[in-house]
Symmetry: C2
Subunit: 561 residues, 2 copies
């Protein structure tokens, strides 16, 4: 593979070729057979960038994936570079190597990213070299509509919001290129991807609220079109004014635009609209989380009574228990089940080769989620197996303190996520501990389990928090070669009752937090009270939906500290 790429470099007169994780659906996850990094170097994580020169090859991965990359990739061929795998990082690295003639596939990079790079690196020649990695054949994408009882708003009403915005902007069209925006806007979904029900397609909405849908092999109850049709539209649209989202629209699209056409960047309004859940979506999220909680409680009770398990057998059982739940559609991402040292690999997923038996005296980190027609879940529980030692219990309690610090925080309306991030980290910093991932991410209601524009992280988006936004809170501690701990719940923001200028978090996730791992003497009175209240709420939500054996387990798991 490297040899082929290097031959192409020579014939194209380039010094380096960059391979991204994604494709023309920027920011969306890809199918295993579409995973170009996996094809090039074996790395299967869901973020990364490779760059190949005549005599070197680099794989850039962020902190979550450093360990995984070192296990999956031939490090004699590829140097693994710990960095946010953005085009900025790649170009900085290439600049240090004195490389300036660089090729990549302009379908895979947004207009915003290419603009930024061209401004930042005046001496770099970045050109569209197309795709050099063999592509899997496209399969039919069968589109279905999601019922209004789940969506809370018709596609007509949503498109009218877009039309109204176009009128305000005196524009003719809005091109939506983000898959989750398109799905939310038109209430259309598909089972194309294993973990996200979104339709990978672009939507063009006009000033009357009519829409056209463009993609590969789309099958729907309405007419759909190909990317070639989109190209033709652009070539013939004359002096129209078209708005687009610069963060998700590929640079390649610019090549289709006429000189006459007014092609203006705007924020993707669907991203912002869908982040603030409507009441139907919020009710759905609450109900989906109760069913998800039932599945988890069944799993935890089963595991206690049948402790001879492996990571993979737990993953399989959890899948079956979720699948039994009403309105289950799919998992929301590949379950992470990391026992002992596997738990220290932040985005570890067990395989036949790495699968571990659960043995006495350590912990299982279990991060999983479900897509239900009425909502999306994402939960991490760290589960004691036998009698973990005092150091694990101390670290788990620290993580719980960090979780509670943010979960119980109030903060001014419109506070940005980078500020909230420090509130969760501060209790760990106190012990000189940190974690190399974000504290929280937005979550769709039946869509991507990670969605913008909010984010609770040091370097992420500082988008202001509004009411009814859903976020995870998931601090952790990872001790390399020993264990990993993470406690993750989803929450939605709600106005403080007697002061609408402040927000607080209301919990969606209802699953007990393992008390075997808590040293109550490390918790303050307020923290103990938070946990006891949470467990009472969990019991009240779930007890009616489990059998008597499970109810007894739940009662004990939810009893006060």
């Amino acid at each position: 593979m490297l040899e082929t790429i290097r031959k192409k470099l020579s014939s194209a007169g380039l010094e380096a070729y960059i391979i991204s994780y994604g494709n023309r659906f920027i920011g969306q996850d890809v199918l295993p057979q579409e995973h170009k990094l996996s094809a090039v170097c074996g790395f299967t994580g869901s973020a990364g960038a490779a760059v190949i020169t005549q005599n070197k090859a680099f794989l850039l991965v962020d902190g979550r994936y450093e360990l995984q990359a070192s296990l999956q990739v031939n490090t004699e061929q590829f140097t693994i570079v710990p960095a946010i795998p953005s085009l900025l990082s790649v170009c900085s690295l290439l600049k240090d190597e004195n490389i300036t003639k660089i090729g990549c596939d302009f379908w895979n990079y947004s207009i915003a990213e290419i603009n930024f790079i061209k401004k930042r690196f005046k001496d770099i020649e970045l050109e569209d070299a197309g795709n050099w990695i063999a592509e899997a054949e496209h399969q039919d994408v069968c589109i279905f509509s999601r019922d209004i009882k789940y969506c809370g708003m018709t596609r007509e009403d949503k498109c009218k919001l877009v039309a109204r915005f176009l009128q305000e902007q005196q524009a003719d069209y809005f091109l939506f290129t983000s898959s989750d925006s398109v799905s939310w806007l038109l209430n259309i979904y598909a089972k194309d991807l294993p973990y996200s029900p979104v339709v990978r397609a672009y939507a063009l909405v006009d000033i009357d609220g009519n829409f056209r849908l463009f993609g590969n092999k789309l099958k729907a109850e309405f007419t759909t079109e190909s990317f070639d049709d989109l190209r033709q539209f652009f070539e013939n649209c004359g002096s129209k004014k078209i708005l687009y989202a610069a963060n998700s629209t590929p640079e390649k699209i610019k090549h289709f635009i006429n000189e006459e056409t007014k092609f203006y960047a705007r924020d993707d309004m669907c991203q912002i609209l869908k982040a603030e859940k409507n009441q139907t979506e919020l009710n759905g999220m609450i109900k989906a989380h109760i069913r998800d909680g039932v599945a988890l409680v069944k799993l935890l009770n089963w595991l206690e009574k049948n402790p001879q398990q492996t990571e993979l057998s737990v993953v399989a059982k959890l899948h079956d228990l979720r699948a039994e739940q009403k309105d289950f559609f799919s998992e929301s991402f590949a379950t992470i089940a990391g026992f002992a040292d596997n738990g220290a690999i932040v985005h570890y997923q067990p395989t036949e080769q790495t699968n571990k038996s659960l043995q006495n005296g350590n912990i299982l980190l279990l991060d999983s989620g479900g897509q239900y027609f009425d909502g999306t879940t994402d939960i991490t529980r760290t589960i004691s197996i036998g009698n973990p030692d005092a150091k694990i219990i101390r670290d788990f309690t620290y993580v719980l303190k960090a979780h509670i610090a943010l979960a119980s925080a109030r903060f001014p309306l419109n506070t940005g996520g980078t500020k909230l991030d420090a509130i969760a980290r501060a209790p760990l910093w106190q012990h000189c501990i940190d974690y190399k991932h974000g504290t929280g991410h937005g979550v769709s209601c039946f869509g991507n389990v990670h969605e913008g524009p909010i984010s609770i992280s040091i370097a992420g988006s500082n988008y202001p928090f509004k009411e009814n936004m859903v976020t995870s809170i998931e601090p952790g501690i990872y001790v390399n070669k020993q264990y990993g701990i993470r406690i993750e719940n989803l929450y939605y923001t709600s106005k403080v009752e007697d002061n609408p200028d402040y927000l607080e978090f209301k919990c969606l996730t209802v699953v007990p937090i393992d008390k075997h791992l808590i040293d109550k003497y490390l918790l303050s009175g307020g923290e103990q009270q938070w946990l006891n209240n949470y467990h009472k709420y969990v019991y009240d939500c779930l007890s009616a939906y489990v059998n008597e054996d499970e109810r007894k387990w739940l009662e004990k798991a939810c009893s006060p500290l």
Copy 2:
């Protein structure tokens, strides 16, 4: 005044004229007779911007000064706009007014700020209209050198650091335009400004470490030059490569530059070097704070025994007590002494008109500081007068919790100030309370009481914290028309003993925190311990330097909760 400006607008063909707070020493405070905003509209605060059009006039001030501006300014003539008074805010406001032809004095705005505005507002024509406000005549500036026993490093050694940087950059000169950089670099000071000992001048350092000093009427033991000499230097310097700091160098300077000259922006290296105090400076800061603490303890004991005071009599007494201390040079800013509702005005300074008597049942907010040859202090204490009510005691205790939250925090080396800010605010946010000012600012060692590049604030610099940096921590609560509370100490950063990747704060300020205002039942065990440890340290530092009467007062003030 407004009429004159409006006539000038007409004759200059402009639609608006902007008046800034500052002059060609950007970011430095100004003398009262140089205060252009005061001349134009009566506002005397130390940040602001006025803009005058043919039929409107605006004064932009930030949250600290909103109340003060509304008291000082004729609001029939001027609309007070609460906003960070940057050129960005002014131009945004003018854009909303459909005004595009704007004049200002290019000596008063940095190259960075003008560049930013020109990029941001493509349709605005911003031009150099010169200064339209009558200037006070310049007085002689008598420069003295500060002893090496205070500085810890000679000007020759500091200039050699600059020379080494110039060699690395293959440049010929570095132009320093920030007064505190110039003073620190050359160890030169003056009594030109009432509160800052810096020399308002520009320094040009060459590749051999030689320097030239440019300013208005400078008198020194070495040769100094005028700004006209600087202009001539630029006009004749041919193809030399000159580095400058874009944030402090006036746009006007660009007009002097030849086409051949290479004029490149770099970070002001003195700002960064001087923020990390050397051991001599740190020892000086510690000693200066002990003397400052002695002055404050004498004041607090005196006030308890002589309670019939006014804001102004407290200010005068405090000045006298500081002035008695060894190595005292000046106050570091105009003392803020705000009793009751005056305390709610964040940067209030008492005048004969506003002066209040201290009466039973409220609190005095006292924010003050000293310049000593060995260090600079800045402290706020909120002092009970008689028996303040439970609401004041509750709020004071909340502010103390916020102060302790950050003062006792540990955090990774290189953490930015915007993250630390949330740690202090979180305990107040919990009660839906916030304060409209930063949590902390950098402090010089004998220089500006506010110095960059660090800052602990929501919108401020996110410059990474290193070892031996000095910052204030000063959360507050302000209840309009009732009272103001602030608790401010200075701290320096120090590496955590057993983990050099983490920093913690070591306290410089040693003055008791008023226990009459603390509800100990609102404090956690850890918070109570922090306060008791702090008070024990204060007593140990000061008890040997006060008389027996004061020692008894101190002993009681520092006894455990």
